[in-house]
Structure formats: C-alpha cells, structure tokens
C-alpha cells in the first residue's frame, strides 16, 4: 500500500468505514460478493418489498445494485453472482426498491486521504439510489485515484461540478446521527455499513 493509501485507510477507518485491499478488479468484486453473502438479508422498510422473487424459496434472495460499472466489470460480477446464486443483480430500476436493497457496489472517482472521503460522480439517479437505499455500500477505489486533500484537487472538483446535472457526492463513513443525547448512531437514513475496497490494478 502506498503512504497515501495508508493515510486514506486510516482516516476512513476512524469513521467506521471498513477498508479492504484487492490486487485486481476481479478480486475486488469477489470480495464484494463475499460481503453480500455474509450479511443478514434485508427487511424492507416499506410494506411492498419490490419485485424480487426467490428461485428456490430456501435461501433468501439478496438484492445487489451495481449501477456504474463498465461492461467487463459487470460481466464478471454477473458471473460471480450466478455462481453464488440467489442474488438479484440490478443495473437499473433501483427506484422500485424504496424499502431498501441489500448492497450497492459502485466505483468511486477519487479518494481524499486526509479525511478518508470518497468522491463519487452521482449524476445518474441509479448511482445515487444505489448508494442511498442500500444497507451496505461497497465502494471500489483505485489506489491511484487517491488525493492528499480536498483543496489539493479543487480543479478536478470544479470540472466535475461544472456539468449541467452534476451531482457529486463526498461520502465519509456510513450515515450517522448524534441527534438524541449526542449518542452516535449509524444508519439513520443511508447505508448502515460502508466498505471500501482499495484496488491496485489500473
């Protein structure tokens, strides 16, 4: 791990993000599916859980939204999900799951080391919803995309935010609140867990 990646990992961990490492993209997706399989299946927050049906009825189906992957990544992830079984892989239509989905897996555009922050271009509604409605958000971040501090990447951020329809998200840890007696509680609206997989491969 580079020094910058180590700083990033340390600061992300401070806000209860779980940081993993993967040498290749494929390994990163393997890791994401492992996290999904280990998680307790979602209980929908809404009366209507959305159009999910189990093939077997035995193992509960888990929903995985993967909105901003390229073709190669998606093909690979799709294979891994098929092999594991009982995973409902979504690329579109996340809005039909307002009661929640089990996991969203997305690429992050940048990491900011000094605060352990992810920068994700969320212009697409699917990307936004995948990272908001999921119980577990797994973000893949290339080590080479980590920057030291937000103000050292102001130009890149200015370019990202200068597009019509731009929706750029800084995400640092899971959704949190301390509104009752200043006691920290995780997952008031967004994800209950944030996992970050640092990917070496370009």
């Amino acid at each position: 791990m580079t020094d910058l990646a180590a700083v990033f990992a340390q600061n992300a961990s401070l806000v209860s993000a779980v940081v993993h490492q993967a040498a290749t993209r494929d390994q990163a997706f393997d890791g994401a599916v492992d996290i999904l399989l280990a998680k307790t299946p979602l209980v929908s927050l809404m009366p209507d859980p959305g159009p999910v049906s189990a093939d077997s009825g035995e193992t509960p189906v888990r929903t995985l939204a993967a909105p901003n992957l390229g073709t190669t990544d998606l093909q690979y992830l799709s294979q891994v999900c098929d092999t594991a079984g009982n995973i409902h892989l979504l690329q579109n239509g996340t809005r039909q799951f307002p009661g929640g989905i089990d996991m969203g897996v997305t690429w992050a555009d940048y990491g900011i080391a000094d605060t352990g922050t992810l920068v994700i271009a969320s212009d697409s509604e699917e990307t936004r919803l995948a990272t908001m409605l999921c119980e577990v958000h797994v973000a893949l971040l290339k080590v080479s995309d980590i920057r030291p501090a937000a103000d050292s990447m102001a130009e890149e951020l200015a370019a990202m935010t200068d597009r019509t329809g731009s929706y750029t998200a800084f995400i640092t840890g899971a959704s949190r609140t301390a509104d009752i007696e200043r006691v920290l509680a995780i997952g008031v609206h967004g994800p209950l867990e944030l996992h970050i997989i640092l990917v070496e491969e370009e």
Partner: protein, 731 residues
C-alpha cells in the same frame, strides 16, 4: 413564546431552564466533551490561520455579493435551474408556496435549514394545506413536538431519550423503548415512507458556488441526498451570504465548519448539486430545480461597516457550544431562531428589536465565542453594539443613563463612591470579625469586609454572593503615603487603578506598591484617571464610554501629550487592561486613533509586567496549594496564559491545576446584576471545580472575578481563601 416578551417573563424562562436537571446535565457534558473533540479535530493544524482564511473568503464574498449573485444566477439559468431572489421572509415563503402550487406538490420533505427556520417556512406552508416533514432526525423530533431547534447543528440537544421515546410512542402508536439505536431505526422506517410519497424536496445549502452554479450541502444523516433525489421538484432556500466565488473557497470553509461544529473532520456527506439532476419519474427525465436566494436584511448588514462581519458566520454553532450562559440555560433561552452569540446579534437584524432586546443583555462578555468563531467575528463586541443600538432606538433606561452621566464626570463619580462608604455603614457586617478586624480577611488592614445584607433595592436573587464594602479610604488617597522615591529606577510605570480596586479593593494595589518598591520601580499615579469605561460599554452607553476613554487618554499622558515618560502603563485589573488595549482604540478611532494606539502599546497587565518584563525571582514560601482562575479578559482578551501561573510558583506556593480554568466565573459586570440566577449557577460550577482540586487558595487577576469568587465562596461557606495575585506575591 409571546410576540413581545417582557424582561420579567424572559427571566422566568431562564429560571425554569436552570431548574431543568436533564438540560443542565446534558449541556454540561456537551460543553466539556466539545472542547476535547474540537481540539482533537484540529490537532496539528494552525487554527488561527484557517480562521483567517475563512474570514478572508467570506469578507471578500460579502463585498462582491451582488456580482456573485449575478454570476451564479446566469450560470444556474444556463443549466436550466430556476433562480428567484426574495427580499423578505414573506417573499421567500410566497415564492416557495407558488412553486408548490404550480408543480401540484402536496407533500414536502425537508432537510435541515436554519434559513427555513428563519423565515418560518413550515408554518407558512402548513397553513396553506401542504404537508411538510422534516427528515433530519433532530428537526423531525422538534417538529413533532411543535417547537424550534435549540441548537443550529443539534436541534434536539435539550431532550432526553425518554422524551423522544414517549414522543415516538405517540407518533407510531406502538410502545417504543428509550434505547437510542432503536429510536433511530423508528425514524429510519417512518421517514422512508415520507421520502417516497413526497412531491417536493426542500433543502438549504451551506455553499453557493458562483462560478459553476453549484450548491454544496453538508449532512451527516444523508437525508438531504434523499430529499434531492426521490421527489420530482427540488427547492433550495439559500441566504445570499452563502455565495462564494469557487469550489476551492467552499472547500476552505468546509475544512473548518464540521470540525468547529461537532469535532468531526468532515460530515458523512457533502453533496455538490449543479442540477437539474436526473429524475426518472419526471416527464423530462430531469428534476425541476429552484433556488430561492434570501436577502431578509442581509444587504443591510453587508452595507454596515460595523456589522458586515456578521455575514462571515458559517453557521457552525460553536459560539453556543462554548458559551457559559448557553451551557446553563440551553438554546431556547439563548436565542430566538438563531442560537448562541451569533443569534443574539442576528435576531436584531432578522427578527427585530422586540425579539432581541432581552436576549442581547444575556452575555457575560467572556469572549469564549470569539475565540472559537470559524469566521473570525468579534462577537462580544457586536453584541454590545446591538445592545447600544437598541437603547438608541428605544430610549436608554434610567439606570444606564445615570451610569453614563456619572461616569462621564469623574469628580462626581468619585464623590459618589466616597459617599457610598458612608451610606453603607448601616449594612456593614461587623459580626464577622475575621473579615472586619484589621489584619484579617485578606490579611490587610484596609479590607473593609462584606456588607451584612444588600440594600433593599436589590431582590433576594442577588444574595448569591456577599458584596464587598466600599473602602473607607480609596487607593488614590493613600498613594502619596505609599509611594517611595526611587533613585535609579529599573522602570518607570504609570499605574492605572480602575475603579473597583481604587475604591473597593485598595489592598490589591497596596500589595502591588510593596512589590514595585522592592524591585525599584518608579510609580506615577495620574489623579485624573477614571473608570476605564468598560461598564458603560456593557450597559450600551457607547457615547459615555468614548468620553471616558478620551479623558483617560489625556489623564495618562503624563509627559504632556504623550506616553513617552513611562515605560509601561500597568493595571491590576484584567478587564481594564483588555478594554484599554482593544476597546479604547475602537471607541476613539475617529477622534484620537494615533494617541490611542500609542497608549494601548504601553498597557500591560500586572502578571506580564512582573513575570515577563521584570522577571521576578522565585522566593521560598509556604507551599500552599493554589488554584488559579484565569479572568476572561486576561486569557482571551489579552492572550495571557502562563505568566500568572509562573508567578504562583515563584511566590513559593504550589500551583494546582483545576478543570476549566479559563471558563468565565459568571461575573460579567452588569451581567451578574441583570441575570443573578444565571451568574450564580456559573459561579457555583466554578467553585465546584476549585473545590475538586483541594486547593487552599484561589488566586486571580481581576477585581471583578475577586468580587464574584470571594463573595460566592463566603456566601456558600466554601473553605477557600480568594485573593488577587498581587496579594499572593507581596503579602
């Protein structure tokens, strides 16, 4: 809360809050925890430098506000965003109501916005048949309770988990356990439905970036993300003071905002929306986006040279977090809509004189807010200025007019003080020999002791501390006898006594004179010096304060018209020192700016003179455990921290640290007589901290603090001796 609350009713609310045990404990824990978490968040950073950067960015943005608004608007319109400008709160409410009508929106979800609170948006929309749901947990709680937020960042900090559990039981119709983790999940579930059903989302914004037409919104819960993603319409209500030129500027502010607000390095989410963003359920595939820029008095503030810095506020709430009064009474009593020091000021501009007139007096002038302000605003000064303006507009109360009149006339003032010695004779406490016998009490024959009871004009509230008697012979009449000729002086100083030490505690100055003689210091005592003028500032009597300042500038110019004849102007009163250094130049900037600057440069507090300039030698002593109370005007007013602590050690005693040494004792001049109950509670907390250190002695460097601490310790029967550091050094 009635529309125009009387002072009496306001005091009654304060008393009720002081009796609220949960509130007191919650506020106390928060005040202590905040200090540590803020310190940790800024570890290794140059905070002053960061604050300066934020102040520069904000000040520049305020100067160019009109141009930035124009630039933002052009850019946003090119993106397809509807931009509105509302001059008043009512305009903004009407614009948002019309957007709801035009878009057929009935159900609205909101993320937290102080600006929406400022204009009373929710009641406006609700009375027009729209259903508005706050989605920030704290805001939702206070909305359900039909009350306002009690803190800008933590709206429900005044409530316990039990109160929230009861509330959620009512709302959901199911019993809810008072377990925070579960209560949060109740909100997660109940609010999800509201998000899904909503036609419109309303947010505020922390930043409006002009060069790209982008809004920046910081949240921890992520609710603003859902508010701006699920509904088809997004309305952002943004004060024009949120405009900044570039995202780099916004990031500069964002480096300090969360650290100062809650001690977090950054909030969980910072969302940058240029918009209009994709919305698959909208016919066009894009969300309809409106930005309503709100003026509501901001342009008037921007155009006011004295107050424009108010708009450097980034709404972090830190000024409340460190305020000793907020800590005692909570936000509902320490603000109207905006809470804390900034709230005392903005209430006057946004919500009018009637809502501000009581609040603005509720400040001890301790400067804790100024020391943490992210925008570098001189909050205590502006609070006093608002107070003065309100008095100018409504007429000055008799008490304050009299004070002004008396202070302006030194001879009259001093004659009155001498008469007071006679007038107090019937109420002098002669029973307590320890305090009235020569050589007792402070150990000095001049200690006249306490008053037996307060004159009848005071209510029983004021009995929380014993008041000192006025000295029979003031220091100015003793000076000639005490002053010893010095052949080859190491330094020549002018002594500025301040009125409290001159007339109430001359023993402090007598002790200092012993020290000056021992170290070959030639002392001049200009007889025409008067009160420093700080009490007049506190009472909102700016003109009198200025007159007194000019009189003192003349009186202290011992060498004709300048200060070259002395090396230093020394004072034993930290409040005088701070006021003479910072307040006087401000007051006379249009009359005698150079003279005031030359004067201020010579002023040093006693401990700095003794420790840093004279370099006092350590002497062997009794080694008594000695606690230190740092006067606000010494530690924050003059940035003096270690000198008095070193002097304690050098006096042959042992300095023992106490908790919160640099927290206000609750005196605050006229504050302690205006709000005696609050002052009493701050004092008790201070004395508790001292007691916990097991110190035998409590030393400080300001006669106001001595008055408060000594009188409080006596009234509460505390086993501690209180004295001025001069008395410790030269007994």
């Amino acid at each position: 809360m009635p529309k125009t609350e009387t002072f009496r009713s306001y005091k009654h609310r304060l008393d009720t809050a002081l009796d609220n045990r949960f509130l007191r404990r919650a506020m106390d824990n928060f005040a202590v925890a905040y200090r540590t978490s803020r310190q940790n968040a800024f570890a290794g950073m140059d905070v002053d430098e960061l604050v300066q950067q934020v102040a520069d960015v904000k000040a520049g943005a305020i100067r160019n506000n009109a141009a930035l608004l124009q630039q933002f608007t052009a850019k946003a319109r090119a993106h397809g965003i509807h931009v509105h400008v509302a001059d008043t709160a009512e305009d903004a409410n009407r614009i948002i109501e019309e957007i709801a009508q035009k878009t057929g929106s009935k159900r609205i979800v909101k993320s937290k916005s102080m600006t929406a609170e400022e204009i009373h948006l929710n009641p406006w929309l609700e009375t027009r048949g729209l259903a508005v749901t706050e989605t920030d947990l704290g805001e939702w709680i206070v909305q359900l309770r039909k009350e306002g937020p009690s803190h800008m960042v933590m709206p429900a900090i005044h409530l316990s988990r039990f109160q929230v559990a009861d509330l959620f039981t009512d709302v959901t119709g199911t019993d809810q356990d008072p377990e925070i983790e579960r209560l949060v999940k109740v909100a997660r579930q109940a609010l999800r439905e509201k998000f899904v059903e909503a036609d419109m989302g309303i947010t505020g914004a922390n930043y409006a970036v002009a060069d790209t037409g982008t809004l920046g919104i910081a949240t921890n819960e992520g609710n603003a993300r859902l508010v701006t993603t699920l509904p088809k319409v997004h309305v952002a209500l943004v004060g024009i003071d949120k405009l900044v030129p570039t995202i780099a500027d916004a990031l500069t502010i964002n480096r300090i905002l969360p650290k100062n607000a809650t001690g977090q390095a950054i909030t969980s989410y910072v969302t940058w929306i240029t918009g209009p963003s994709e919305c698959k359920t909208a016919e066009t595939g894009q969300r309809e986006m409106h930005i309503v820029f709100l003026d509501n008095g901001r342009s008037r503030i921007a155009a006011d040279p004295e107050f424009s810095q108010v708009l450097q506020c980034v709404r972090c709430g830190a000024c409340a977090n460190v305020c000793p009064v907020y800590r005692m009474v909570g936000g509902h009593q320490m603000g109207h809509i905006y809470i804390g020091a900034i709230g005392l000021i903005t209430t006057y501009f946004f919500h009018g004189l009637e809502n501000a007139k009581n609040l603005v007096k509720n400040c001890t002038n301790c400067g804790a807010c100024k020391a943490v302000c992210a925008g570098g605003i001189d909050l205590p000064h502006l609070i006093k200025q608002v107070h003065a303006r309100i008095q100018d507009e409504t007429g000055h109360p008799l008490q304050s007019l009299m004070l002004a009149k008396v202070l302006k006339n030194r001879k009259l003032f001093h004659r009155l003080l001498r008469t007071a010695w006679l007038a107090q004779q019937p109420v002098l406490d002669r029973s307590d020999q320890a305090r009235t016998m020569p050589g007792s009490g402070s150990g000095q024959p001049s200690d006249t002791g306490f008053l037996r009871h307060l004159p009848m004009i005071f209510s029983s509230d004021h009995n929380f501390r014993r008041l000192p008697a006025i000295a029979r012979v003031p220091f100015r009449d003793r000076f000639a006898d005490l002053n010893q000729p010095v052949d080859t002086p190491r330094f020549t100083i002018a002594l500025f006594s301040g009125c409290v030490q001159d007339f109430v505690y001359p023993e402090h100055l007598e002790a200092a004179m012993r020290g000056f003689a021992r170290y070959n210091i030639q002392v001049l005592f200009p007889m025409n010096q008067s009160c420093c003028g700080l009490p007049a500032v506190s009472m909102g009597e700016t003109a009198a304060a200025r007159d007194v300042a000019l009189q003192n500038l003349d009186a202290m110019a011992v060498n004709g018209n300048n200060y070259d004849g002395v090396d230093y102007i020394v004072t034993l009163c930290a409040s005088c020192a701070s006021h003479l250094t910072h307040g006087v130049p401000k007051l006379v900037k249009e009359y005698a700016p150079e003279k005031a600057a030359a004067f201020a440069k010579k002023v040093v507090p006693f401990s700095v003179f003794m420790n840093d300039i004279l370099g006092l030698d350590p002497v062997p002593g009794a080694g008594r455990k000695t606690a230190f109370h740092s006067p606000c005007h010494l530690c924050r007013g003059l940035d003096v921290h270690q000198s008095p602590r070193h002097l304690i050690e050098k006096s042959g005693n042992r300095y023992v640290p106490t908790e919160e040494e640099e927290t206000c004792c609750g005196f605050g001049g006229s504050f302690s007589t205006t709000f005696p109950a609050v002052s009493r509670e701050i004092l008790t907390r201070k004395l508790d901290d001292v007691a916990a250190s097991n110190a035998d002695l409590l030393v400080t460097e300001c006669p106001g603090c001595v008055l408060q601490l000594k009188g409080g310790a006596a009234q509460q029967g505390r086993n501690i001796t209180v004295c001025h550091i001069a008395e410790l050094l030269f007994p």
